[in-house]
């Protein structure tokens, strides 16, 4: 799903936290958002997810460039995801039930995702008995269940072990390549950004500083700020 933003502004109590002049994220992108704390990364993601309303400007979705957030075609995975207080199976099935899928279809899709993410043994487990890594995998499986056109992730691997991180990264690359899902991922891990993303967006103080191919932005940035951040100097 293509995203186009123009003069997108978000203010909290008069303080401008996001100010994007123009930004186009093409359909099928696998884009990482990097930047120091307070750069506006999460605000941008929340605006795209429709969880916040912009103070001004336009945010358009898809080829039709509609201004209404297509909630049924996109989803978001949080750093500390909220699982419904029920079984893993029912959590993964939740968006499918909302979309009126039949029981047989749901069973098939849930089984497929559980196997893919190594959750088969946990399917009947209650959500509050899962570890952090398992919780994150269930949240990802739930998000992917209805094959969204746009997947937003806010530091999904910040609190999980390397094996789970690798599994999540593999899954993101797979759905992006095979299903053409546009993936936008906030990460503080530059190695991960290089490993997973094709494009990288560097933000600082609510503005887009640099956006381009991950390889180029992370290895040979055009902007001095980006260079300082990549070199580990800019942490404000």
């Amino acid at each position: 799903m293509k995203l186009y933003m123009e003069n997108l502004i978000k203010e909290f109590e008069g303080r401008r936290v996001l100010d994007i002049r123009e930004l186009l994220i093409e359909s099928g992108a696998l884009c990482g958002i990097i930047g120091p704390n307070g750069a506006g990364k999460s605000t941008l993601l929340n605006l795209i997810a429709g969880l916040m309303k912009p103070t001004d400007g336009s945010l358009l979705y898809g080829e039709e460039e509609t201004a209404v957030a297509p909630f049924r075609e996109m989803t978001m995975v949080f750093q500390a995801p909220y699982l419904i207080r029920t079984t893993v199976d029912k959590n993964i099935a939740y968006p499918l039930k909302l979309r009126g899928w039949g029981n047989a279809q749901i069973e098939e899709r849930v089984g497929e995702l559980a196997e893919e993410l190594g959750l088969t043994d946990f399917r009947k487990q209650k959500s509050w008995k899962l570890s952090g890594g398992e919780t994150q995998k269930v949240a990802l499986a739930r998000a992917l269940s209805f094959r969204p056109k746009l997947l937003l992730l806010d530091e999904p691997t910040a609190n999980v072990d390397p094996a789970t991180t690798a599994e999540i990264e593999r899954m993101l690359r797979k759905i992006n390549e095979k299903e053409g899902t546009t993936v936008i991922l906030i990460t503080h891990n530059l190695v991960q950004a290089k490993r997973v993303c094709r494009e990288v967006l560097f933000m600082n103080q609510g503005k887009v500083v640099e956006f381009g191919a991950a390889e180029r932005v992370l290895r040979d940035p055009e902007q001095e700020l980006t260079k300082r951040f990549v070199d580990g100097e800019l942490f404000t």
């Binding site: 909630f71 049924r72 996109m74 989803t75 909220y82 419904i84 207080r85 909302l98 209805f146």
Partner: protein, 231 residues
């Protein structure tokens, strides 16, 4: 101490042999308390949920009023309701003074703020996450509300049971608006107060035991529901 033991033994006998008047009082107590809690839940749960999920002007002031009413002394609630429904009062035409209906209204005034306040606290803490989940899953307003109620069911049930506990144990308001009339408005708590002043301790203890058993059964029910959900 010996007198208490004798009274306790007499109370058990009274319960086992089955005193019709006693069971009528228990029945009326349950009817009044359950009716008031059902009405209070119908008012308090949606109000608490709305206040917890919305921002509006004077919200903080409203919350302070609700918290104050949560600890409203029953005699004040009873007095206000009595002044409203007495023959010369604004609702005097209803003719419900010294009836179970008046007792239910007084208890609704006491229990509704408790259920509203407790529901608000539960919703305020967890609703943002549940709402965000519902939105990111593509749920509509109705589905989001269903999910919110499902997720908060134990807390809401606990709020209702707390309200029921207040209704069952309340004496001041029902005494003022009901009048403790035998066979008409006499409930367990007002009966205990009367029996104490008459020096009939064994019957007072018997009624007290019934009250405790009811409280135990209510808490057992809640505990079982919680266990079932948590398993």
């Amino acid at each position: 101490m010996e007198q208490i033991a004798i009274a306790f033994q007499a109370a058990i006998e009274l319960l086992v042999t089955g005193d019709t008047a006693l069971y009528e009082i228990v029945g009326l107590s349950l009817m009044v308390s359950l009716s008031s809690v059902v009405l209070s839940a119908c008012l308090g749960v949606p109000c608490g949920a709305l206040i917890g999920t919305h921002s509006f002007a004077l919200k903080n002031a409203l919350l302070r009023v609700i918290y104050t009413l949560m600890s409203l002394p029953p005699v004040i609630a009873g007095l206000v309701v009595f002044l409203l429904i007495m023959r010369r009062g604004p609702l005097g035409a209803w003719g419900i003074t010294y009836t179970p209906a008046a007792m239910i209204i007084a208890q609704v005034c006491l229990v509704t703020p408790i259920i509203t306040g407790l529901t608000y606290n539960i919703v305020r803490d967890r609703a943002p996450k549940v709402k965000a989940l519902a939105a990111t899953m593509g749920a509509g307003r109705l589905d989001a509300l269903k999910l919110l109620i499902f997720e908060l069911r134990i807390g809401i049930l606990a709020a209702i049971v707390t309200g029921l506990g207040r209704a069952l144990s309340e004496v001041g308001a029902v005494m003022i608006v009901g009048g403790n009339i035998k066979g008409k408005t006499r409930v367990m708590t007002t009966y205990i107060a009367q029996l104490k002043s008459m020096g009939d301790y064994s019957t007072a203890i018997a009624v007290g035991i019934v009250l405790l058993i009811l409280a135990f059964l209510i808490n057992t029910f809640l505990y079982n529901v919680q266990q079932k959900v948590e398993k």
